[in-house]
Symmetry: C2
Subunit: 247 residues, 2 copies
């Protein structure tokens, strides 16, 4: 298989309700599109949710890092490319590039996924799945942004609390991965997005939260443009950690 | 022009992050798709936002009513048809039908729009626009659901309060029409959506709200399955009214 054939390309348009007050696509909608592209690409190659669920396995998103020079504007076309960078026994690295209406690359993203058994919740061995054929899709296309790092913060007092509601909950009964992105960016005042834009956004998905959980948001400003956020459920367990870098 | 040529048809798939915990498309995502289809259909006929904005006019959504027998399931294809039912001097009625993966009609929607001047905020005369050519698109396809009615409630104490945040705000600086749907359905406990489904959902958009406004939600249960909701901003002005009928 050529390297090009290993890359999936998907077309989008920035819809009116998918842009923020600056007229640019929101980070949560971009995140949604990236995860959908991951799904399309995996399905087309026999590793999609439908195949996995028949076999009582499911993909679990562990890390996501998005780094952008620009965001598409309302009504603009854009496209997302995705490919598999690495497959380890328990994790796989899937990368993305974001292309503007003219086909110019305006950003990249990295994601890390595990596969778990839906019965035992234990991780599956990716190298033996489908007789190891997932390795055939590993692609050497460059993804020149830093890997998602370890986010370590000194917890202080929460800056916000939120009780999860009907529209936060996905088909698995969990708060969905995209809603966390929305809630985290909602910690910042509107003025922050007037003066700056999000250059890099990182998420580490640590544990699941459920309907009715109270999420506490801890925030730490590392330097002028860099913030760490930790979300705990019900005052104790860490659910997600995030790093937001503005520019 | 044949009646068929007056109808726009648009294809969709129910994406994973667009379904709720029951695995069905959410009402807010369906609302988003309906409004997008309105936009596509109007643009294709020369009455889209781009044309209007050049002329310093904009479409304003006044009423929306959605009534459904079923909702598409995760990963299912579905399509939305839209057409113009009536054009009056100050309002136009645009209808929709929702078709499942097999092309069976599973629901309808009605919307009412005004066109206003972006400078004076005053309504424009639709009958003179483009030399009255909007009348050419009036279509007699049936839409067998009730028109959105007057929602009148006896205000009591608010059941919830919410301060609008970054992700509520659209390119016009207003809380976006879709976010209200989400906030209103979030008033109901998850158990309500386990036992019942939303059969009919009505929205009346009365005034705009902005970043940082405090929205108060008033709720009245009219009978076993019917609820009225009124949203006020900053304790006084009504912003939207809604009726939710479960079955």
């Amino acid at each position: 298989m050529t390297e090009d054939a290993k890359i999936g390309t998907y077309e989008f348009v920035a819809e009116p309700f998918h842009v923020d007050f600056t007229g640019k696509l929101t980070m949560s909608v971009l995140g949604n599109h990236l995860l959908n592209c991951a799904g399309f690409h995996a399905s087309d190659r026999g590793f999609g949710m439908a195949f996995l669920q028949e076999n009582h396995y499911t993909w679990v998103l562990s890390r996501l890092a998005i780094e952008l020079d620009e965001m598409p504007e309302q009504y603009e076309k854009f496209s997302i490319q995705t490919w598999v960078e690495n497959v380890y026994r328990l994790f796989t690295d899937r990368n993305f590039s974001l292309l503007d209406k003219d086909g110019k690359t305006i950003g990249y993203a990295r994601s890390v996924w595990a596969m778990i058994s839906m019965e035992t919740r234990k991780p599956a061995d990716l190298l033996t799945l489908h007789g190891g054929s997932i390795m055939d899709y590993v692609c050497d296309k460059a993804c020149p942004i830093e890997k998602p790092g370890r986010i370590k913060m000194t917890s202080s007092a929460p800056v916000a609390e939120y009780q999860t509601k009907y529209s936060d909950i996905d088909i698995n009964g969990h708060v969905n991965s995209i809603k966390y992105i929305e809630h985290i960016l909602d910690l910042f005042p509107l003025s922050q997005f007037k003066e700056k834009r999000v250059r890099r956004f990182e998420m580490a998905y640590v544990a699941e939260s459920y309907y009715g959980d109270t999420l506490s948001f801890y925030q730490e400003q590392v330097n002028e443009d860099e913030y760490l956020i930790e979300v705990k459920k019900n005052g104790t367990e860490v659910v997600v950690r995030s790093k937001v870098i503005f520019s």
